[in-house]
C-alpha cells in the first residue's frame, strides 16, 4: 500500500471509532432512561406529585422535594444571575489588563472545575455556621450560586466577546458611554448566549446533590418551605434517600422521581437550545 492509501485507511478507522463511541454513549443513555421509565412511569400520578414523604412507599410523594427544588432554583437564580453577569461585564469591559485581572481570570476558569462537594464545605462553614443561616433554603441557594457563578461568568463573557468590535466602535463613535454601549448594544446582541449559559447553569444547580447534603439539607422534611430560612429537601436528595431504602416500593418511587428530575432538566436544556437558535437566526452579522 502507498502512503495515501494508508492515510485513507487510518482516516476510515478513526471515523468508525468515532461513530462507535457516539453510539455507545447514546445506547447506554437510552438503556438507562428506558429502564428508569419502565420502572417508574406508572408510579407518576397526582398522589405522587402532591404527597409529603412517608414511611410507606405507596403513600409517599415528592411534593416537599419538588417545592424545595423550586425554592432553590428561584433563589439561586436571583442571586447568581445578576452577580454572574455583573462580574462578566466587569471582567470583559472594565477591568484593565493587569496582573490582578489575569489572576482573577485563571481562578474563575479553575473554579468551574472544583468538585461540587468543596462548595458544600465552603457553604457549610460560611453560610450555615458563620452567618448562622442554618441548613436553610437560603444557605443552599447561596452555596449553589457559588457553584454556578463561574459557569455563568464564563458563558456571559463568551457571549459578550462574540459581539463584533465594530458594533462597539460604532456606538462609542456616536458618543455613547461604556455603560450605554453595554446596555443598548452589547447585552441585547449577546442576550441569547447569556440566557443559554444561565439556563444550563441553573439546570446544573437543580441536579446538584452533594453540596446540599453537606450543608445539611434533609431527606425527610414533612413540610414545604414557606420562607428562605426554612429547612428543605430537593429532588436529587429525595431520590438518593429512596434508592438507599430496602423496600422495593421506594426503588420504584426513586425511578419515578428521576423521571420528573430528568424532565425538568431536559426541559431547561431544550429552552436553552431554543433561545440559542432563535438568537443566532436573529443576529446574523
Amino acid at each position: 500500500m502507498n502512503n495515501a492509501k494508508i492515510n485513507k485507511a487510518k482516516d476510515k478507522a478513526f471515523q468508525m471509532w468515532g461513530i462507535f463511541c457516539t453510539f455507545l454513549g447514546l445506547v447506554l443513555l437510552a438503556v438507562f432512561i428506558g429502564a428508569i421509565i419502565k420502572d417508574g412511569i406508572l408510579r407518576i400520578d397526582w398522589q405522587f406529585l402532591t404527597s409529603l414523604p412517608s414511611r410507606k412507599p405507596e403513600n409517599a410523594g415528592i411534593l416537599t422535594a419538588m417545592m424545595g427544588s423550586l425554592w432553590i432554583l428561584g433563589l439561586t437564580a436571583i442571586v447568581a444571575i445578576p452577580l454572574g453577569i455583573g462580574a462578566a461585564i466587569y471582567l470583559e469591559e472594565y477591568s484593565k489588563k493587569s496582573r490582578f485581572a489575569s489572576l482573577l481570570e485563571i481562578n474563575i476558569s479553575n473554579l468551574a472545575g472544583v468538585p461540587s462537594i468543596i462548595y458544600g464545605l465552603l457553604g457549610l462553614e460560611i453560610f450555615v455556621r458563620l452567618l448562622k443561616f442554618g441548613p436553610s433554603v437560603l444557605a443552599g441557594s447561596f452555596t449553589l450560586s457559588l457553584l454556578i457563578l463561574p459557569i455563568i461568568i464564563v458563558a456571559t463573557r463568551e457571549a459578550i466577546k462574540a459581539v463584533p468590535k465594530t458594533i462597539k466602535e460604532a456606538s462609542f463613535a456616536m458618543g455613547a458611554t461604556k455603560w450605554q454601549t453595554m446596555w443598548n448594544q452589547i447585552l441585547p446582541a449577546s442576550f441569547g448566549g447569556i440566557l443559554t449559559g444561565v439556563i444550563l447553569a441553573l439546570s446544573r444547580a437543580v441536579g446538584e446533590t452533594a453540596p446540599l447534603i453537606v450543608i445539611g439539607a434533609l431527606a425527610y422534611v414533612p413540610f414545604t418551605p414557606s420562607s428562605p430560612m426554612d429547612e428543605f429537601s430537593v429532588l436529587p436528595i429525595q431520590i438518593f434517600n429512596w434508592v438507599s431504602r430496602p423496600q422495593h416500593g421506594f426503588v420504584i418511587n426513586a425511578a419515578a422521581a428521576i423521571i420528573i428530575l430528568l424532565l425538568v432538566t431536559f426541559t431547561m436544556n431544550a429552552i436553552a437550545v431554543y433561545f440559542r437558535n432563535k438568537w443566532q437566526k436573529k443576529v446574523n452579522w
Partner: protein, 260 residues
C-alpha cells in the same frame, strides 16, 4: 465645543500640531502638522499602513481605547485642545461624527439606528426624534428607499444602503465634523458613486475629513489633500495642485500608481 468668548477659530476647523503617535514602541505618526478648513473636504491619502486611520481617529479620540496607544502634541478643534482633561469625549463625539470602512449598522431597525445618537443623549420626545430621523435619512439620500420600511432591520439592507444608514445615524446628532475612513472601499461602483454625490452635498454644511485609497475619489471630492508615507506627512495642499504638480517624488509616484 460651544462657541464661547474663548473660542478662537483661526484659519482651521481642525488643527494637528506636532503630533506624534505610538503603538507601544512603534512610532505610527511622526511630527504631523496639518490644518483642515471648515466646510471643506480634506482627503488623507497614502499607502496602506502609513497612519491615515490612526491620524483620523485622533480627531474623535477613538484611539483612546487601544491599550498601547500614546500620543504627543495637540489636536485643536475650533481652537480648543481636545486632548485635555476637561474635554468630555462623549460630547466631543457628538460634535465629530465618524463613518467607518465597513458599513456597521447596529442589529436594530433602520429607525432605531438613526435615532440611537438622540436617544443616548436622553432625548425622549418621539415627535422630535422622528423628525430628526426623517431629516437625517433625507440628507443621506436614503429616505425614498426606506420610508415605508423604517422598522426593517438595517442588516437586511444592501451594503450601500447600510453605509447610508451609518451616514444618516451620524448626521442625526447634527455634528459639525464628519470623519470618514475609506467609506466606499467595501462598496460596488454604483453605491460608491451615490455616496460620493452625498459627500459633495454635505460639504457645504460640514467639515469632512476622508481617508481614501482611491485617487480618483480624492481628486473628485476633496478641496485639500494630504499625502502620508510611513507615518510622515510628505506633502499637502489644494487637491488640484497636489495632483497636477506634486512637489515630492514619493507623492508623484504614489498618485501616478507606481506604488501603494
Amino acid at each position: 465645543m460651544e462657541k464661547t468668548a474663548a473660542y478662537r477659530k483661526d484659519v482651521y476647523k481642525i488643527e494637528a500640531i506636532d503630533v506624534n503617535a505610538f503603538y507601544g514602541q512603534f512610532h505610527a505618526l511622526k511630527g504631523i502638522n496639518l490644518g483642515m478648513e471648515e466646510n471643506a473636504v480634506t482627503a488623507l491619502i497614502g499607502p496602506s499602513g502609513c497612519g491615515k486611520s490612526t491620524f483620523l481617529r485622533l480627531f474623535n479620540r477613538m484611539n483612546d481605547y487601544i491599550d498601547e496607544f500614546r500620543m504627543k502634541g495637540q489636536i485643536r478643534i475650533d481652537g480648543n485642545k481636545i486632548y485635555n482633561s476637561y474635554i468630555e469625549v462623549e460630547q466631543l463625539r457628538k460634535y465629530v461624527g465618524m463613518v467607518f470602512q465597513k458599513p456597521n449598522p447596529f442589529p436594530k431597525s433602520i429607525f432605531d439606528n438613526v435615532a440611537y445618537g438622540l436617544r443616548i443623549q436622553g432625548i425622549r420626545d418621539k415627535k422630535l426624534i422622528s423628525e430628526r430621523v426623517e431629516k437625517a435619512l433625507k440628507q443621506a439620500d436614503l429616505w425614498s428607499e426606506v420610508k415605508d420600511n423604517l422598522k426593517k432591520s438595517a442588516l437586511a439592507l444592501s451594503g450601500g444602503q447600510q453605509q447610508r444608514v451609518c451616514i444618516a445615524r451620524t448626521l442625526a446628532v447634527e455634528p459639525s465634523i464628519i470623519l470618514m475612513d475609506e467609506p466606499t472601499s467595501a462598496l460596488d461602483p454604483i453605491s460608491t458613486a451615490r455616496i460620493e454625490d452625498l459627500i459633495f452635498q454635505l460639504k457645504t454644511e460640514y467639515t469632512i475629513v476622508i481617508v481614501t485609497h482611491n485617487m480618483q475619489q480624492a481628486g473628485r471630492l476633496s478641496d485639500k489633500t494630504a499625502f502620508f508615507y510611513m507615518g510622515e506627512l510628505i506633502e499637502h495642499g489644494p487637491t488640484k495642485e497636489l495632483f497636477t504638480n506634486p512637489k515630492h517624488d514619493r507623492t508623484e509616484n504614489y498618485i501616478s500608481g507606481r506604488f501603494g
